[in-house]
Amino acid sequence: MAAIVIRDVSKQFGTVTAVDALTLEVPEGSIYGFIGPNGSGKTTTIRMIMNLLVPDRGSIEVLGHAPGSGVRDLIGYLPEERGLYKRMTARQVLRYYGQLKGRSVSDVDAAVAEWIAPLDVGPWLDKKVNALSKGMSQKVQFISTIVARPRLLILDEPFSGLDPVNADVVRAAVLELRRRGTTIVFSTHDMSSAERMCDRIFMIFQGRKVLDGSLDQIQARYGQDTIRVRTERGPAALEGLAGIDAVTDFGNYQDVRFSGDAQAFLTALAARTPIRHFELTKPSLNDIFIRIAKPSGSHVTAQAGAD
């Protein structure tokens, strides 16, 4: 059974089409990654699933129901921009949010107790929210979305702003929830998280669906057209070689999108500079994202900081 079924949904804001004839099915029990550049329609899609926005056209089904009051209690939602009441303690906020989902205080306390240790929030539960660090309040926000034991969890940018340790802690919690059967939809700009965690990936660009499938399926569409090289001269050694469509410079190595004979390319490159590493590979999700979102981009794309 599908947790979310979106059929031919469109949403306009004034003259801007935020979502254009979108059809998507999220299977129950899966982790589904929503990716796409800023302003491409991710948040609008999520808000329509949450019934915070009503589609202009098309239909949406969530856990077999129309969105709204019927299923709201079964969904945990972490919006992209989220806040907590500053003057309440973390525990008061969690209880309040749980009550709004129709849970009793004791239910909420029991659910919170399960996550104290994994998320390491124990000492902070009875502190006022405005005394929490950013990472800690994000973890409290994450707990607040799962205190009502949702069947479907929708997380908009759950890892943004978390340090690597806390990001790993939240990632582990998400995977644990999936193991318990929760369906998880999350949007992210962190392609490596999407690659590692998601069963399926959906990319939206300018309101339209441009990718939808497992990572393997998506990569298969782009073939083995990428060569990862590491040379002494770096990106300068690649200049002017025949068959190069695009170069993504990661600093220590370069990903070359190449069409033609890889052997001839290797020979030509070896004539210019000593080669340390040469690998035929699939394009990364990051690369695919950039190819779609920046088709007219410069020939050499600098990629600082990514892995």
């Binding site: 009051s69 919006p79 989220r82 907590l84 009441y85 309040y96 009550q99 709004l100 129709g102």
Partner: protein, 457 residues
């Protein structure tokens, strides 16, 4: 709509409101502040103007100056501290000591008063005036008064007048006192010239006190019971007290909701809330929360007031029959103004925008306060009836009329309840529409046409 969700919201709002410092201080501070401001005003009226008041008197009649000097030397009869002393009566004695001083007579002797008689000595009046004006400019004099010679003739024409010259034209205490003292002496002098005994006229024209009483009733034993005396403060205390209490109870909760909503919007809590409850449930919860706070506040004050009334034997002030009406009108007022402030909060994304949009709302709240005196003076006049039926003013003004005498006809009370409840429902409905759209809206606040579109959408 789930009542349980709304109650969860209401509980959170209630807790949040009564825990604010503003609320706790407000409960205690407000009565203290009202009391302090009354005491201060009283004190300030007497003490603020303590500069020396050196007043020169050009007395062209040559007969009035001694009386002015005597009055200046006598203690002020209006001054509490000087009460029961042998104040020199301004009207030549024989005044009824029982008579309460006329409340409207607010003549007060200026502090540090010094009267300087000016000898005319053959100079022209214009020269004298010029000379004294120079002294006023040089600050050696505060002002001077010029009494023309013909003021004492009994048939003084209307054109006859005295002139008071000063740089401090805004101080009305000095000329008022001068006018009263000099005129009293002029009157005495005219009586004397006409050979009429002043003490006789005082005795003959003695005023008789008029006492305001409630109506006469026949008691259980068939005796006609003499109606009790109604003090003027008594007729004002209960109606004004109840009206101000209602105003206070609304003010302590409704505007706070606006800031709370804006905080939820700016810290992006609204979206989290709306993922769990409908806008209607959220609005209902918030309204229930502030109503509870207002009622709690009002009940606390009422109980204190009742305790005070019983303890001090003023039990006639306690009118339990007013209580249900008070609660009905209070709830309507909170719902009405609460929805109004919540709508403003939901439509704006920062406090500055909201404050400018809030001004009209505050204006509506203040109208009844301004009109209260007019309504109380003539509770059955067309203006009073109209104002106490107009929904935003009705809770305050109809309450005022209910507590005053004569009470309004029942049909008017019921009509105002119906109108107010109707208006409150309309306000809540509109707030619900604005809530749906406004809560997730960031950026600039909507203009009126946009707002109307939200409401119609």
């Amino acid at each position: 709509m789930s009542i349980a969700r709304s109650l969860a919201v209401a509980n959170a709002e209630f807790q949040a409101l009564i825990r604010t410092k503003f609320f706790i201080f407000g409960i205690i501070l407000l009565p203290v502040m009202i009391g302090a401001s009354i005491v201060f005003t009283n004190y300030a009226e007497k003490r603020v103007d303590t500069d020396p008041h050196r007043i020169a008197v050009i007395d062209e009649t040559n007969r009035l100056t001694p009386a002015v000097l005597a009055a200046a030397a006598a203690p002020d009869p209006q001054d509490d501290t000087a009460k029961d002393t042998t104040a020199v009566p301004l009207r030549g004695g024989g005044q009824d000591p029982e008579a309460t001083p006329n409340e409207l007579d607010i003549t007060r002797k200026p502090a540090n008063l010094e009267i300087v008689p000016i000898a005319i000595g053959g100079k022209s009046i214009d020269d004298l005036r010029l000379d004294l004006s120079g002294q006023v400019r040089a600050k050696t004099l505060y002002g001077f008064v010029d009494i023309p010679a013909d003021v004492l003739t009994a048939d003084a024409s209307d054109a006859t007048r005295m002139d008071y010259y000063t740089e401090n034209t805004s101080n009305s205490d000095v000329p008022r006192w001068l006018s009263k003292v000099i005129n009293a002496e002029i009157t005495r002098d005219r009586f004397a010239s006409a050979h009429v005994d002043m003490s006789l006229t005082d005795r003959l024209s003695k005023t008789t006190r008029l006492t305001t009483r409630a109506l006469v009733e026949r008691d259980a034993n068939g005796q006609v019971r003499h109606a009790r005396e109604v003090h003027s403060w008594e007729t004002f205390a209960v109606p004004f007290g109840l009206m101000y209490l209602m105003f206070l109870a609304v003010m302590m909760s409704a505007p706070h909701m606006m800031t709370a909503i804006i905080e939820e919007k700016t810290s992006r809590i609204s979206e989290v809330l709306l993922a769990s409850v409908t806008p209607t449930e959220l609005l209902a919860g918030k309204l229930i929360g502030i109503t509870a706070v207002s009622v709690l506040l009002a009940v606390l004050y009422l109980l204190t007031a009742m305790y005070w009334a019983f303890a001090s034997g003023e039990w006639t002030l306690v009118q339990l029959s007013l209580l249900p009406w008070f609660l009905v009108f209070l709830i309507c007022a909170v719902l009405m103004f609460g929805s109004l402030f919540l709508s403003v909060g939901a439509a704006c994304s920062d406090l500055k925008d909201a404050q400018s949009m809030m001004q009209p709302a505050m204006f509506f709240m203040l109208i009844p306060i301004f009109m209260a005196t007019i309504v109380l003076r003539a509770p059955n006049s067309a203006v009073a009836v109209g104002a106490s039926l107009f929904p935003t003013a009705a809770p305050f003004l109809m309450m005022l009329r209910l507590a005053a005498t004569p009470p309004p006809p029942v049909w008017q009370v019921l009509l105002s309840v119906v109108l107010t409840a109707g208006a409150a429902s309309l306000f809540v409905w509109v707030a619900g529409r604005i809530f749906r759209v406004g809560l997730l809206m960031q950026g600039k606040p909507p203009n009126l046409p946009e707002l109307l579109k939200w409401i119609r959408a």
